[in-house]
């Protein structure tokens, strides 16, 4: 676990950076060490920063144009011929337009291909609902053999990209568009971010917040608020691995606190909240609240406005924790 002291500074005045930059830079760095690493893009390579890899390794970089089904299938072919293949575009388009290919051509034969989708969630902002992917975790999680990860900041993005590159098999990773607070130092990420294991950011005895992506930072703010205003001791876990879910850790914290709130930039159906509910309902039923978009599409607006309007904030998470504690006491 990272100590609260260790984490404290980031809540005051966090440094900001983007997951996309971390993704592109990490690919370019790994390209030196992993000669089999190849990257495929679909006309969004500048925006997703895979172009950084492309400039360094043009012979291992392919742009298939606006053609997402071809994007992931070409990457599958590269992987079948021995490459470590990364494919990337915006999440609404992939996996949005190529669930079949992800299922039949990639997950079923367990091809060593990684789809890293950017601009997921409503934080993409003014582009509006057509560009705000809120279903990808549900679709990808339901496919056998597919592992699903969601980094919470640029440093954990870098760490998880390296894990993906060095772990055989199909992966789906989603990242967000905007600059976001840096939660981890590289050393903390290397030590504390491990595939299939939760990263404990705070332990607690009164409630547990299990969050992924941009909502991890909001969860930390919520826990801090609850500690100072309500004297509650609230655990915060970074659930970067949605699948395979660290079920034992989820059960353990549910037993310790009896109140679990999940938080994600995704529909409340089928994503992290769904995954946690599946585990707890079978192994240790406790009352839960799921923070996410409430089975609705987003809309245009600035990121901050949208996060408030759709309840993806520290305040909403804290209110759900209080509501849950109230319900448990009745």
């Amino acid at each position: 676990m990272l100590s609260v002291d260790e984490m404290g500074h980031i809540l005051e005045k966090p440094k900001m950076s983007s997951m996309r930059d971390a993704y592109g830079e990490t690919l370019a760095r790994l390209g030196e060490e992993i000669k089999e690493l190849v990257v495929v893009g679909a006309d969004t390579t500048g925006s997703i920063k895979t172009s950084i890899f492309g400039e360094k390794f043009p012979e291992r970089f392919f742009n298939v144009g606006i053609a997402e089904q071809n994007l992931v299938s070409v990457a599958a072919g590269l992987a079948m011929a021995g490459k470590v293949a990364f494919a990337s575009t915006y999440a609404v388009f992939a996996p949005g337009k190529c669930v079949d290919q992800m299922r039949n051509a990639i997950a079923y034969p367990e091809v060593n291909m990684k789809l890293v989708a950017s601009h997921a969630g409503i934080s993409v902002g003014p582009d509006g609902a057509s560009h705000q992917e809120l279903e990808d975790l549900a679709t990808m999680r339901a496919i056998p053999n597919m592992k699903v990860v969601v980094p919470s900041d640029p440093t954990s993005t870098a760490r998880l990209v390296e894990i993906l590159a060095r772990t055989r098999g199909p992966f789906y990773m989603r990242i967000a568009r905007p600059n976001c607070p840096i939660i981890y130092t590289p050393e903390q990420a290397t030590k504390n971010i491990n595939l299939g294991k939760v990263t404990v950011l705070r332990e607690g005895s009164d409630a547990s917040i299990l969050a992924c992506g941009l909502l991890v930072y909001e969860a930390l703010l919520a826990a801090k608020k609850l500690a100072s205003e309500d004297s509650l001791s609230v655990a915060v876990y970074d659930m970067h691995t949605i699948k395979p879910l660290d079920a034992d850790a989820v059960v353990k914290t549910a037993k310790a606190t009896g109140a679990v709130v999940t938080a994600e930039e995704h529909n409340i159906m089928g994503g992290l909240g769904g995954a946690v509910a599946e585990v707890l309902s079978e192994r240790y039923p406790v009352m839960m609240r799921r923070v996410g978009t409430m089975d609705t599409f987003g809309e245009s607006g600035e990121q901050a406005e949208l996060m408030v309007k759709y309840g993806l904030t520290a305040n909403n998470i804290a209110n759900r924790v209080l509501e849950l504690r109230g319900a448990n006491q009745r």
């Binding site: 190849v38 012979e59 291992r60 392919f62 298939v64 144009g65 053609a67 089904q69 071809n70 299938s73 070409v74 990457a75 599958a76 072919g77 590269l78 992987a79 079948m80 011929a81 021995g82 490459k83 293949a85 079949d100 290919q101 039949n104 051509a105 079923y108 034969p109 367990e110």
Partner: protein, 274 residues
């Protein structure tokens, strides 16, 4: 391993035997797709017995040519050829589509030696071949990719995404084959969704196009040889075929895209195969 060259008469005999195996296998399975398996027999026999460099004893050999059956429903054809080549015992064919079988209803790379792709969802195989062809070029390997597609499959949008992509990257190590048997599940392709002028479409996408009679071994073998010589362009061979070829009542019948005759009927058909 380079296959020893077979005479045309030998190839015809192998084709006849392949048709018999397909029909017997399907009758035993009681379901599957005879029409599109029977239509492409000679093309697959030509590939596996003459054209391709492959080794049934070492299916994962890195230098092998790769055959991708994008029209995965023709699995009985692929399995019949692979079994005769020795990728697995011929008696496995009678387990097709049955529980715990190594032979799934549609090809499965993990279960069946020699199967290069989990196909079954139409339109994907050409893109996968592009990935392998790019890797081959990158690694300076001279293996070739062969991709068989159905003509109904031409209706999938992804085919044309891939068609553009293969010519962008000048993938002369890809030979695609269209089994132009004119029939899809619901009827004639030209009634369901016209795909003509097919040759002009591929030419417009900057492919080298060769049309052949899908039952004339001399034409088929010449086309594959020509495709190997072409530089900087992928080749598509449009093979004019007949759905259900070899069984009179199945020929040109959409019904037999996905309907299997019973064992007794198959016994009498097999006797009449030419």
């Amino acid at each position: 391993m380079i296959q020893s060259k077979k005479s045309i008469d030998e190839l015809k005999e192998i084709s006849k035997n392949t048709r018999r195996l397909i029909l017997e296998t399907l009758a035993e399975a009681k379901s599957g797709h005879p029409g599109g398996s029977l239509s492409a027999v000679e093309l697959l026999v030509a590939l596996y017995y003459v054209v391709m460099r492959h080794d049934p004893k070492n299916p994962q050999w890195l230098g092998r040519d790769r055959f991708i059956l994008s029209k995965g429903h023709a699995a009985p054809l692929l399995y019949s050829v692979l079994a005769q080549q020795g990728y697995f015992p011929i008696d496995q064919l009678k387990t097709l589509r049955k529980i715990n079988s190594m032979l799934q209803g549609h090809p499965d790379t993990k279960k069946t030696p020699g199967v290069e792709m989990c196909a079954g969802s139409e339109g994907v195989g050409l893109s996968v071949a592009i990935g392998e062809a790019l890797a081959g070029k990158m690694d300076k390997k001279d293996y070739r990719l062969y991709v068989m597609m159905g003509d109904g499959e031409m209706e999938e949008g992804q085919i044309w995404e891939a068609a553009m992509c293969a010519s962008k990257y000048r993938l002369d190590n890809i030979t695609a084959i269209v089994d132009r048997n004119g029939i899809q599940q619901d009827g004639l392709t030209e009634q369901i969704m016209p795909i003509e002028p097919l040759s002009a479409k591929w030419k417009a996408f900057n492919w080298n196009v060769i049309e052949v009679d899908g039952y004339d071994f001399e034409q088929i073998l010449r086309a594959f040889e020509k495709a190997k010589q072409i530089r900087n362009k992928p080749t598509v061979i449009i093979a004019h075929t007949t759905k259900g070829k070899g069984v009179e009542f199945m020929e040109w019948s959409p019904e037999y895209h996905g309907k299997v005759p019973d064992k007794k009927t198959v016994e009498s058909i097999v006797k009449q195969l030419k």
